[in-house]
């Protein structure tokens, strides 16, 4: 199938072709997010419904590398989606919100978000999100002795709790 071939071709050029699922009920924000992600050369799937996102993820969790979702959605609380994705699929989830209130950011991180971005999102921030995918893979392997930590992005303190820092070049 052509789709599979394209996916396997771009897998070697990671983060090019990284497969992102973007969820936002606001169509303006979703269009902007989709365009920004495509400009980063990620492979983007969008939906305005959290329930649809969950359905897609449940159908095939290997279809995506990362989920990026708005916090406030009418059909399901973004934090709920975040929890379910973390429990069922163990994929990195980035939360998005126009609200930067510390309490909300804390809630996102404690519910398992690997990052919390403020709207409007800038392309510079999205250019770094692939680091969450790599970091997660690294800790999944639990291969501390063999890990080539010099070459991998350096996460800094607090990484065990899942609160990572992104290196912005």
């Amino acid at each position: 199938m052509i789709v599979e071939r394209i996916v396997s071709e771009t897998k070697d050029q990671f983060p090019i072709g990284m497969r992102v699922l973007a969820v936002d009920d606001d169509p303006t924000c979703l269009l902007l997010l989709e365009t920004l992600l495509r400009r980063c050369q990620y492979h983007v799937t969008t939906t305005s419904l959290a329930v649809t996102a969950l359905k897609m993820l449940r159908e095939n969790k290997n279809r995506f590398d990362l989920v990026i979702s708005d916090v406030h959605m009418p059909d399901m609380d973004g934090f709920k989606l975040l929890e379910l994705v973390g429990l069922e699929m163990d994929l990195p989830v980035i939360m998005l919100s126009a609200n930067g209130d510390t309490k909300l950011v804390m809630k996102g991180i404690t519910h398992g978000a690997c990052d919390y971005l403020l709207k409007p999102v800038r392309i510079e921030e999205l250019k770094n999100i692939w680091q969450h995918v790599v970091r997660r893979k690294k800790f999944d392997r639990k291969d501390q002795n063999n890990s080539d930590s010099q070459n991998k992005p350096h996460a800094g303190s607090g990484e065990a709790a899942g609160i990572g820092m992104l290196i912005t070049v």
Binding site: D26, T28, C29, L31, L32, R39, A98, N99, K119, P120
Partner: protein, 150 residues
């Protein structure tokens, strides 16, 4: 400055939007996403914004007519409206949204009502300006190089 008079006019118009505070840096982000593959991106996003936000404006209007005010609902609507507005760089509209949310937090009915009238004015003014801008852009034809503002 461009030699083509229409494009010069366009540049002047565009600069005025930033100088007068109607648009902020986010609008430039939209322009940077416009390319050969996506030649009308800015207009598309702005059109989508005005189409979609109309229902939010209506919801807020209806909520402001109810007694007593449901400040939480008003705030929730405005939160979303603010998110959309900031995505297109609508600076004055965004500022009014922030003010409105402050009035919601302090449960100020007068403040909310007054602020919303002002917000609608800014929202309508920006729409007119951008419509004129896109119309002129179409007449002027495609730009050879993108100009970044200072």
């Amino acid at each position: 400055m461009d030699r083509n008079p229409l494009r010069r006019q366009l540049q002047i118009m565009r600069k005025s939007f930033f100088d007068q505070g109607y648009l902020d840096e986010q609008f430039v982000q939209l322009e940077e996403l416009q390319d050969e593959a996506n030649p009308n991106f800015v207009e598309e996003v702005v059109t989508l914004y005005y189409r979609d936000s109309a229902r939010l404006i209506l919801s807020i209007e209806q909520a402001l007519e109810r007694k007593p005010f449901d400040f939480n609902k008003l705030d929730a609507h405005m939160h979303q409206f603010k998110g959309s507005s900031s995505s297109i760089g609508a600076k004055k509209v965004k500022a009014e949204s922030t003010q409105f949310r402050e009035y919601c937090k302090s449960r100020n009915r007068e403040g909310c009502t007054r602020c919303f009238q002002q917000l609608k004015k800014e929202y309508a003014t920006l729409r007119k300006k951008l419509e004129a801008y896109f119309q002129l852009a179409r007449q002027a034809g495609p730009m050879e190089t993108a100009c970044r503002p200072k």
